[in-house]
């Protein structure tokens, strides 16, 4: 049972939002209201407790490498965002109850029967994925369709993607496929294509994402952090600072009672 993941190729995304719908339907998630935002075709906004897939739409006054336009320059970038199931997951490492676990598929899973809604994972996720639903009281996020994987099925979003923008499979195989795709795009005249978080070397802060992306602009443009770091990786220096401060406080307390 190797590590499973998503390779989301944004150059193939047509913004149909079938993944959003399939995710909501399969997982029986409640709707988030039907708002009109005016942000291109994005009326979803962000991932959240009941939104586990989110398609982003970026309108730019720049053309893509091999693109020709009739009047002026412009391109429309679409990207289906999801929980990254990080190799080092901030939510998992910060969870005090053990509700968040790593499954046999390498995915990060929140057990709803254990979560007590402390909300720490919400602040610990460097991608802003996991969120607490206030009327439910617990934290929720993408499960990588754990129920479907157990039955040897593909996650609902990947199954429904009509252009194979969302590809599901063994992580090692996906990485090879993604690298080949980038090479091909470069050859075809799209030098801006690159992979985001596809390996521990590419994103040492998270030691690689099990759900990685092919992008054609800086991560910021897609609302992705440019260099996310799992907070736990930097915790040692805070603990050291606390130890020094605690020694200082003990010395102050003893000093205050002893000096005549």
């Amino acid at each position: 049972m190797g590590t499973k993941g998503f390779f989301t190729d944004t150059t193939l995304c047509i913004g149909c939002k079938a993944c959003e719908v399939a995710c909501k339907q399969w997982n029986q998630l409640p709707d988030d209201g039907f708002h009109f935002t005016g942000w291109s075709y994005d009326n979803t906004g962000h991932l959240g407790s009941s939104t586990w897939r989110h398609v982003g739409f970026v309108e730019r006054p720049v053309s893509l490498g091999m693109q020709t336009t009739g009047v002026g320059n412009g391109s429309w970038l679409m990207m289906s965002d999801v929980c990254k199931h990080c190799a080092r997951a901030g939510c998992l490492e910060s969870c005090p109850t053990g509700a968040i676990v790593r499954t046999e598929f390498g995915s990060v899973y929140v057990q709803p029967d254990v979560c007590n809604g402390c909300g720490y994972c919400v602040s610990a996720c460097p991608f802003g994925v996991i969120d607490r639903r206030e009327d439910d009281g617990r934290a929720w996020k993408c499960t990588l369709c754990y129920d479907r994987l157990r039955e040897d099925m593909v996650p609902a979003c990947a199954k429904h993607c009509p252009t194979a923008s969302i590809q599901f499979g063994e992580l090692s195989e996906l990485r090879g496929r993604a690298e080949k795709r980038v090479e091909e795009l470069h050859k075809r005249g799209m030098p801006e294509a690159y992979l985001y978080g596809h390996s521990p070397d590419a994103q040492p802060g998270t030691e690689g994402l099990n759900a990685f992306f092919l992008l054609t602009d800086r991560p910021e443009v897609y609302n992705l952090p440019p260099d996310p770091v799992v907070p736990t990786k930097k915790a040692r220096r805070s603990w050291t600072a606390l130890a020094a401060a605690a020694v200082g406080m003990a010395a102050l307390a003893v000093g205050a009672v002893l000096t005549p």
Partner: protein
């Protein structure tokens, strides 16, 4: 209620009412999906979009995704900063009380009793505040289900549990002067004093161990700030108690050191999160900025009063100012985290600055030229 409305519509032969936003008719479909357990009381409860704060001194040229935050802001209510104050107060009191008992100075017996009461009361209030803030308060015991050293919240839960036990025993046995019960009480007080040290400051590690720019930016300055703020709060609370001359002197010394350290480390925090400038913006603007400044002013005035020749009204005033100052600090820092998480520019700028500070990072080497080309062409 929901079941009843479904039943009513069924009996009337109507279509089932839309209740939980799932649009699944329970007569036809079974709710057993991964998200089916998610309770829906109010359909529009999903968090609304928070727009990025507008700081006048933003030096960031980076574009964002419709100004939407990258991070989720914290979901904590006022109980959490209140707990930061109460937990710090209890921890520092227990540490001072243990030191006073250990000195075996008979003139400090009253101080020992007071600190034991404050520590035990603080532990009870802390636990209540933390349980109150949980999304599922009935599951508070899950905090002690595992011990996870990577989670400061797990470490802190165990510290608080141990501290609460020790501090309660020490408080119950505070009147015992001789015999085995006194020894048990003293041992418990020593345990509470030792656990009080991490209790006073682990909350800063908890905040630093998040993705929130202003909190993680102060990774090494925030823990000593919270510890010195805990000293301030304990000394200020004891300033409001009746104490003898010896005890007053002990508390005064403890407080002066704590308040001076608190001012010093608030400067250190500002310095540490000062680059890039936008990360520290919540400490300068808005409600969080006002609270942060108020904390410094209150603590500085409290320090000045503590340095004056001693008198009853001056002690009282120093105690109240110190208490207000350390409360404002905790509420200010927590509020700053909320604003910081809302600002995608702070997240981007901090990560880009860290990236360029470490040239050995070859992560983006392969894609850098293409990215640079893409970004230079369309920064608005």
């Amino acid at each position: 209620m929901a079941r009843r409305r479904f039943l009513d519509s069924h009996l009337r032969g109507e279509a089932p009412p839309k209740l939980d936003g799932r649009n699944v008719d329970p007569r036809l479909g079974i709710l057993d999906g991964e998200g089916a357990l998610q309770q829906v009381e109010h359909l529009e409860q999903e968090r609304p979009y928070a727009s990025a704060p507008k700081f006048s001194d933003s030096n960031s040229q980076r574009d964002t995704y419709y100004g939407l935050p990258v991070l989720k802001e914290h979901v904590w209510k006022a109980a959490i900063p209140a707990y930061f104050y109460v937990g710090g107060l209890a921890g520092a009191s227990a540490a001072l009380g243990a030191a006073a008992r250990w000195s075996a100075n008979p003139f400090l017996a009253g101080l020992v009793e007071r600190t034991r009461l404050i520590a035990a009361g603080g532990a009870v209030v802390s636990a209540a505040l933390l349980v109150e803030d949980l999304g599922r308060p009935s599951r508070f015991m899950n905090m002690l289900r595992v011990f996870r050293p990577t989670s400061p919240m797990s470490v802190g839960s165990w510290v608080l549990a141990g501290f609460g036990g020790c501090a309660s025993v020490a408080a119950i046995l505070r009147k015992q002067r001789l015999g085995p019960l006194a020894a048990v009480g003293d041992a418990a007080a020593l345990g509470a004093g030792i656990l009080g040290l991490p209790l006073a400051g682990y909350t800063a590690v908890l905040l630093a161990n998040t993705a929130v720019p202003v909190w993680q930016g102060a990774a090494t300055a925030l823990p000593p700030l919270f510890v010195s703020s805990a000293i301030t709060s304990a000394a200020s609370a004891l300033d409001l108690c009746e104490l003898n001359a010896f005890e007053r002197r002990v508390v005064r010394r403890f407080g002066i050191a704590g308040k001076a350290a608190e001012l010093l480390f608030s400067e250190a925090v500002e310095r540490q999160v000062g680059t890039p400038e936008i990360v520290s913006a919540p400490l300068r603007h808005g409600v969080s900025g006002a609270l942060w400044r108020a904390a410094k002013i209150f603590v500085a005035s409290s320090l000045a009063l503590s340095l004056l020749p001693e008198s009853r009204p001056v002690r009282r005033a120093a105690g109240w100012l110190g208490t207000l100052g350390t409360l404002a600090l905790r509420f200010g820092v927590v509020r700053a985290g909320r604003i910081s998480a809302r600002d995608p520019r702070a997240t981007f700028a901090q990560q880009r600055a860290a990236e360029s500070a470490s040239p050995e990072r070859t992560a983006d080497a392969r894609i850098a030229p293409a990215q640079a080309a893409a970004s230079s062409s369309h920064v608005p």
